[in-house]
């Protein structure tokens, strides 16, 4: 039976802190007058930073690498801590990037920040759980918060549509996931990943239905990371949701679902063998290719970035297909790089789109570089990083993924992935061409960048170049974090 020990609490310290601040924000909300909701943003930012300190505290805990808490339901291992830190970074950048946006679009309600924090808590639990039930709970907490966030522009049809679509398809997906868990429990009598890895240690011990369960769980997670053919919702939701929320959605829940994929497919149920590999291999190819090809045809910047984020999920799957410590650490490194580039690009678009997000078409950015050279240069950095040009984090991220793939002798997959990234250059440059190479008066907002957003952008750009030129520290971290997995 699960016995509660007070020491367990410190192992989930970041989550505890985040939840406390989320509650605090909601309690304070009625007492803050309409014009000063910014205070709540700062409160939640303090929460994120405090949780970051919590991560450091937890990482200094003595003991073995795998520190289990709550009777083996949650692990405070380096894998979990790496992802927790990543989610905190994303949450912090999102809060910084959305403050002025919410004010501008008159939706500056306190619960926005509480929801961001709660979604982050859910994501942290997804990465930290070593029990399928806990993973499911984390998934639900993060999903429900993000459904609300997607529809945060209550008065706008598009935002409502995004929320509803996300909710319907999302709950469908979690049902798949739950169904898979039920199968696993029925077959093995446990939902604990450690116990599972012992019970299903060899492929010969796998009953046929366990494969079905695995596929069901994969489908559930595939919705969350939006791999083809479960990506249908992505462009509409990303386009309809408020842009800072899209920044959060395109990175946070995606990375969390990848963490779960790694825990289940390369951890607890790694012995499934060929079936898992081929499923991931195939969906990697489909996801990269369809994501990139569809992005070619987009005329809306948000939609284009939505398809691009689908393609990026495909690259990550290449790393998972490669497997092993190389593959896992490459995935972890890539997710960090991707978080910086994608959040940066979306919050930049959020600013440029102007009040009510009127200007999100690529055409609207025509000639932007003439009027706002700094902003254009900044957005170009994000785009070129996403395209994978060297000296940026995007290149090194891809480099490690593909190195792992070549290491596992997946030459064909690597070639397809690299040709895909050449295709992607075309559509990222589309926006660069509009900004720099076409004359005209831009439709985008030329307002000055407010300083909280500026801070978020500075962190992203600095991170992109730091990771791209001097990745040693973060490589070590990623390597370390992938250790708990086999």
């Amino acid at each position: 039976m699960i016995t509660f020990q007070p020491a367990d609490l410190i192992r989930i310290l970041p989550e505890v802190i985040l939840s406390a601040f989320a509650v605090l924000v909601m309690v304070l909300e009625p007492f803050i007058p309409a014009g000063r909701k910014g205070f709540l943003a700062w409160t939640s930012l303090v929460g994120v930073i405090t949780a970051g300190v919590g991560v450091l505290e937890t990482s200094l805990l003595p003991g073995k690498e795998r520190i289990l808490a709550f009777g083996g339901m949650v692990a405070a291992d380096h894998f979990a801590l790496y992802f927790t830190a990543l989610f905190l970074l994303v949450a912090g950048l999102t809060v910084l990037g959305s403050m002025n946006y919410l004010e501008r679009d008159r939706i500056n309600h306190g619960e926005f920040y509480a929801l961001v924090l709660l979604a982050t808590v859910g994501m942290c639990f997804m990465a930290a759980s070593t029990d399928l039930m806990m993973i499911f709970l984390g998934l639900e907490v993060s999903s429900i918060s993000t459904y609300v966030l997607a529809g945060f522009k209550r008065h706008e049809v598009q935002s409502n549509e995004a929320s509803l679509k996300y909710f319907l398809l999302g709950s469908f997906a979690t049902a798949f996931f739950l169904y898979g868990i039920a199968f696993v429990y029925g077959l093995t009598g446990t939902t604990n990943l450690l116990a599972l890895s012992e019970r299903l240690a060899r492929p010969s011990q796998w009953p046929l239905l366990a494969h079905v369960a695995l596929i069901l769980m994969f489908v559930g997670l595939a919705f969350k990371v939006s791999t083809v053919p479960f990506q249908i919702w992505t462009p509409d939701v990303y386009q309809g949701a408020p842009a800072p929320v899209t920044a959060f959605l395109s990175v946070g829940p995606k990375a969390a679902a990848f963490a779960v994929l790694l825990r289940i497919f390369l951890g607890g149920m790694a012995s499934a063998g060929n079936l898992t590999f081929w499923v991931i291999w195939l969906s990697a190819i489909l996801t990269m290719s369809l994501g990139n090809l569809a992005a070619l045809a987009q005329s809306n910047a948000k939609r284009m970035l939505a398809y691009s984020s689908i393609a990026h999920a495909g690259y990550v799957l290449v790393g998972i297909a490669a497997g092993g410590p190389e593959g896992t650490s490459a995935v972890l490194f890539y997710l960090l790089a991707y978080a910086l580039m994608n959040v940066g690009a979306f919050v930049m678009i959020a600013h440029l789109a102007g009040t009510g997000e009127r200007s999100t078409n690529i055409e609207d950015y025509t000639g932007l570089a003439f009027q706002r050279p700094g902003i254009a240069a900044c957005l170009s950095v994000f785009l070129l990083a996403l395209a994978g040009f060297p000296t940026t984090a995007g290149f090194l991220g891809k480099f490690y993924l593909f190195r792992a793939a070549v290491h596992s002798h997946l030459i064909g997959l690597t070639i397809i992935a690299l040709l895909n990234s050449v295709v992607s250059v075309y559509y990222y440059l589309h926006l660069v061409v509009a900004m720099y190479m076409r004359q005209g008066k831009t439709e985008a907002s030329t307002a000055a960048v407010p300083w909280p957003l500026g801070a978020a952008l500075a962190v992203s750009v600095a991170g992109i170049f730091y990771l791209g030129l001097y990745p040693n520290h973060f490589l070590v971290l990623a390597r370390f974090a992938s250790n708990p997995l086999p």
Partner: protein, 515 residues
């Protein structure tokens, strides 16, 4: 401080232009004059440093010189390794020579967004020098790809009418090639466990990690396609006319002068030494493609109505010679090829500058708009004549030395190759002289041309510099060839181990006998 500079001369050489970029970034947007001078000074300092490296380079020493190595990325082990040998040292000199000329050529013709233009131009120089000095495959790839971005902006922002199309085509073509090359680099790392050029070469040549025949073929193709697109070898050349014609003058000079050489440099640096068997196996096909390039480029040049297009297509022909020389696998062929790389950079770069000067005056490049310019622009016409003659390979000028050595090498490899290449020389004379005749001789056919001003001081400085180099390289090629000897011999030793071509090698080149 001085000692540090001594030991890191290649690092300084590579990143000095980038320092210029950073300085320009902090200058005021409207201080166009200051920005131009900063760009000129930084590119000239780089040139002086390159001369220094060239002079200090010892011809008697085999292997890499001025080597710098320090660990950079821990996992996988990637080092920041720089070094030059006889091949790269001349190409660095070429790069450093052309960049100040490109700056001067853009002095008055670039009027919009001057700051960004010169910042990108200097950043481009860092990328180009980096490609030539990097001795770590990863580092090489970084420079190779990063360099595309400034070039892309130079074409796309300051180019002519179809600039966006040309810029995107340029970047996509190159990236398809480099994507394949990256797979090849990763595969080699997987086999040898290192990205270090010299270590890989050592392991491959001692047979410590032998590559299977099939692996060698695929790897050769992965690298070769990347380089062939850059060269560009027929049939990968279609991006070239667009990019060269649409780019601003400085962009065309750099494209033709240096960027194309990266392809041939890559062939010599990586393809031949890494995959000797595959190189020999593919040599006949590649030689035929090179000859097709020579003849096709010449014939297409002949019918161009546009001066810049004519010069652009002539590059296809010239680079065909270079590739032919490389795949002749003998010392005269390869040294001729390296020499011709420099020659082509100087002569074709100069032709683009000259065409640019004409365009600045008349805003057209159509041959039929001109005629009889020799009487109106005597100074300009004289310079144009010298550069044209150098480009078609007149003895005493630089082009002759390179072409002669290449054809000699081709003859030794296979008589047919040499004969066909010689036809290419004749065709070059036809299209260049015919163009010269139509533009400069005869009566003045267009009244608009009567009032054109002749060269001013800035233009004279550019052209005198070019002509001095053309004459020097034509009359006294030894300083260059001497520095190549050891490096070329090393490449040949690697390729020729039991090759049929190497056995044919007679007493190298004629200049050696007199020494």
């Amino acid at each position: 401080m001085m000692a540090w500079l001594q030991n890191h001369s290649l690092t300084v050489l590579t990143f000095l232009p980038l320092a210029g970029t950073l300085l320009i970034a902090f200058l005021r947007r409207d201080a166009a004059k200051v920005i131009r001078w900063v760009a000129l000074i930084f590119s000239l300092l780089t040139f002086l440093l390159a001369i220094r490296v060239f002079v200090d380079f010892s011809p008697h020493q085999a292997g890499m010189q001025f080597v710098e190595q320090r660990p950079w990325i821990g996992e996988p082990p990637i080092n920041y390794t720089l070094g030059v040998d006889g091949l790269s040292v001349v190409l660095i000199l070429l790069t450093a020579f052309l960049t100040p000329l490109a700056v001067l050529a853009s002095w008055t013709s670039i009027t919009s967004r001057v700051k960004e233009f010169f910042a990108f131009l200097l950043a481009l120089e860092t990328g180009m020098i980096g490609v030539f000095v990097a001795l770590d495959l990863f580092l090489f790839f970084i420079f190779w790809e990063t360099m595309l971005i400034p070039m892309y902006f130079l074409i796309g922002v300051w180019g002519h009418e179809r600039r966006v199309y040309a810029a995107v085509k340029f970047i996509l073509y190159t990236m398809i090639g480099s994507a394949l090359m990256l797979v090849g680099i990763l595969y080699i790392y997987n086999v040898t466990g290192t990205f270090d050029f010299q270590a890989i070469l050592r392991q491959l040549s001692t047979g410590e990690y032998p590559l299977s025949g099939a692996a060698q073929t695929w790897l050769f193709l992965a690298f070769f396609v990347a380089f062939a697109i850059k060269v560009p070898l027929f049939p990968f050349h279609t991006w070239l006319p667009d990019a060269h014609v649409e780019a601003p003058t400085a962009g065309s000079v750099i494209l033709a002068g240096v960027l194309l050489k990266m392809g041939t440099y890559g062939l010599l640096r990586f393809c031949l030494p890494f995959f000797p068997q595959a190189s020999r196996a593919f040599a006949p096909i590649i030689s035929v493609l090179a000859i097709i390039g020579i003849l096709y480029g010449a014939l297409v040049s002949m019918v161009q109505p546009d001066l810049k297009k004519l010069v652009a297509y002539s590059s296809v022909a010239h680079l065909g010679f270079v590739v032919l020389g490389i795949f002749a696998f003998n010392i005269s062929g390869i040294e001729g090829a390296i020499y011709q790389m420099v020659n082509h950079g100087v002569s074709t770069g100069a032709l683009f500058i000259l065409v640019g000067m004409l365009y600045d005056r008349r805003h057209t490049r159509l041959i039929k708009e001109f005629g009889g310019l020799a009487t109106i622009l005597p100074v300009y016409s004289t310079f144009f004549m010298i550069v044209t003659l150098s480009s078609l390979g007149l003895p005493m000028l630089n082009g002759f030395v390179g072409e002669f050595l290449i054809i000699l090498g081709a003859f030794r490899a296979k008589v047919t190759y040499g004969a066909l290449a010689a036809v290419g020389v004749v065709l070059a004379a036809v299209y260049l002289l015919w163009m010269y005749q139509r533009v400069f001789y005869g009566e003045v056919t267009n009244e608009k041309n009567r009032s054109l001003p002749d060269c001013d001081l800035r233009e004279k400085i550019i052209l005198v510099a070019v002509v001095v180099v053309i004459l020097f390289m034509g009359i006294y090629p030894q300083p260059f060839l001497r520095r190549m000897d050891k490096s070329v011999a090393q490449v040949l030793q690697r390729v020729g181990q039991s090759g049929p071509y190497y056995a044919l090698q007679a007493p190298a080149r004629p200049t050696e006998r007199t020494r």
